[in-house]
């Protein structure tokens, strides 16, 4: 893509004085000292977090509950393993905690060699069995192509949605109630709303696919409002962000994984997938003026894992090797089945908001009305306080 098609917003020159967030987040607000809302929101969030003692108690209770629930079953919890640092570390922790996780890897056709090697080493060294959820590539490709044609910002919705769908489905199949996730405040709480989209909006996914897709989606693990309600309320499955219950330091976690599990660093957050590398390192900056590293690095600054100067220096570097970017571009294009001119054309389409394709807002409202009414009814008959 040429420079002219992807100007960065000019307001991006103003940078938060405590983080590295800037005007490339259109919703950013600065106080009189030039501190952005992201810093303030992080402080507010942290103020609501339990202290070390409470975290420890919660973790102990959680582990006891998981083990009790898993008694007599083949496994006691589900962990989604991508081969990246967060999920790898959760898997390592599970071993230290004497859990018996069902390890699930989600294969959407974009794994790279480092990811599969990390997964292999982790399972081998920790003695865990691997279950792989292989997406039907032809269907998944059709969905990914639809997102390119829709020209919306969050091209990761299909993957993120289906990963969760697959995990819930497997948890239900194995009658497990606990899923351990690698999500965490320490490295993932800063994220401007306009840089991504609601991952569980199945209506938006279906609408985008209906408009731009060419083959029916039959095999994808859907997780919309009603599926999620069924899994969570009826089956009692919940996801636990266990990294929030420990003192999670990413650099230390990496060092440990390298030392203990022959884990290999792939550089960049989520670069274990070639698609994600290209999306975050090429499409987002060039097409949407978004450099996600700013959010990731700001998070590390806020959680005391990096200095602001270090982050600013890192942002001077290209998102990743530029020769590799071009190679990735050719591969992504080919794998998605676009010709060169088609691919340039979709990359140059005017950007669209996800909402223009319709959302699950009415479904969610109906859901909350039902849940609200149920709660009221249960309180009325004394089933719930």
């Amino acid at each position: 893509m040429t420079e002219a098609t992807s100007p960065l917003p000019t307001s991006s020159t103003r940078v938060c004085t405590r983080t590295v967030m800037d005007g490339s987040d259109p919703d950013i607000v600065f106080d009189e000292e030039g501190v952005s809302n992201h810093w303030h929101e992080y402080q507010a969030l942290m103020a609501t977090q339990p202290d070390a003692g409470q975290k420890k108690a919660r973790l102990e209770k959680l582990l006891a509950d998981i083990k009790a629930d898993g008694a007599g079953k083949d496994y006691d919890c589900v962990i989604g393993l991508s081969g990246g640092v967060d999920s790898s570390y959760v898997t390592w922790l599970a071993k230290q905690w004497d859990l018996r996780p069902l390890i699930v890897h989600f294969d959407n056709g974009w794994n790279n060699e480092l990811a599969v090697r990390n997964i292999e080493n982790i399972c081998k060294k920790l003695g865990f069995e691997l279950h792989t959820f292989v997406m039907d590539w032809e269907e998944f490709r059709d969905l990914q192509r639809s997102y390119f044609k829709a020209s919306v910002v969050d091209l990761e919705v299909p993957t993120d949605h289906m990963i969760s769908g697959a995990l819930y489905r497997l948890a239900a199949q194995h009658k497990l109630k606990y899923m351990l996730s690698g999500l965490n405040f320490a490295t993932e709480s800063v994220m401007p709303p306009s840089w991504n989209y609601a991952k569980f909006d199945l209506e938006n996914i279906r609408n985008i696919h209906k408009k731009f897709g060419t083959k029916p989606l039959k095999k994808l693990p859907a997780l919309g409002v009603w599926q999620k309600a069924w899994y969570q309320l009826i089956r009692g499955i919940h996801s636990e962000a266990v990294l929030d219950l420990i003192d999670y330091n990413k650099a230390e976690a990496k060092a440990l994984l390298i030392r203990e599990l022959d884990w290999v660093d792939y550089g960049g957050k989520h670069y274990e997938s070639l698609f994600t590398r290209f999306y975050q390192g090429y499409i987002l900056p060039r097409k949407f003026g978004v450099d996600k590293r700013k959010a990731h690095l700001s998070n590390l600054i806020l959680s005391g894992q990096m200095t602001r100067d270090e982050a600013l220096r890192e942002l001077q570097q290209p998102t990743y090797d530029e020769v590799l970017q071009e190679r990735d571009k050719a591969y992504v294009r080919k794998k998605l089945g676009f010709t060169e001119s088609e691919f340039e054309a979709v990359l140059n389409l005017p950007n669209q908001r996800h909402e223009v394709y319709g959302t699950d807002k009415t479904q969610r409202e109906r859901y909350f009305r039902i849940v609200g009414a149920l709660g009221k009814a249960m309180r009325a008959v004394g089933l719930k306080r």
């Binding site: 699930v104 890897h105 294969d107 790279n112 060699e113 292999e120 032809e138 591969y331 080919k334 794998k335």
Partner: protein
Amino acid sequence: MAGLSRMRRIRVIPVLTIDRERRLVKTVAFGKRTYIGDPINAVRIFNTKMVDEILLLDIDASVDGRGPSFEAIGDIVEEAFLPMGYGGGIRSVDDAAQLFRLGLEKVVLSSEALANPGLVTAIAERFGAQAVAVSLPYAKKLLGGQQVLTKSGKSKTGHAPVEAAKAMVAAGAGEIILYSIDRDGKWSGYDLATVTAVAEAIDVPVVACGGAAGLGDFLPAVQSGASAVAASSLFVYRAQNQGVLISYPDEADLKEQLFQKLN
């Protein structure tokens, strides 16, 4: 480095099978199929792992009575900077020529070769015997003995593996891939007796295929006369009864458990 240069190397070959929709599948005894993903990405990962060679087989082509899906094969071969062989539906010298133009190093014939050995001869004459392998999938017969089966294991030839191998080598085949259908996807080790019998009967390389469950299975196959070893389940599953995960042994492990134990 003298020690290294003397060390004998054995080709360790992942076999990837695609179906009529160009989906990567893994069979058990040429029957039950499991979908394992996108062949392009799988080949890309094997390529990074620096495997010696890959064999790509379209297991529906001869059953469907169609030729190779050249475009799909081309997309896959493009990701491989390693020698790659292709088999499935090759019915003419032109088919073979087109495959070589796509960048394949070797064509693998099977159903058509057994019905028409002259095709092996014609391709070998034009491109050299090293570029023509013949795959002989075989299984036990009900009343004892073994026979080669074609059309993805559906069609009986009545020929024993040794007899078929001799005929194919006489026709010009530069390599015989000896594929045990009974052991396909079973993780039960190679059929060493048949490897021995065939290797003794012919003077071209024999590739043992079907049954490998681990690195430890390679050495006995080579000691039985195989020049190379091939496997698929082993390289596409994390382990038996576990999830799909592309893997390939490290050079260090291959040296320790295979190469250094040869000679």
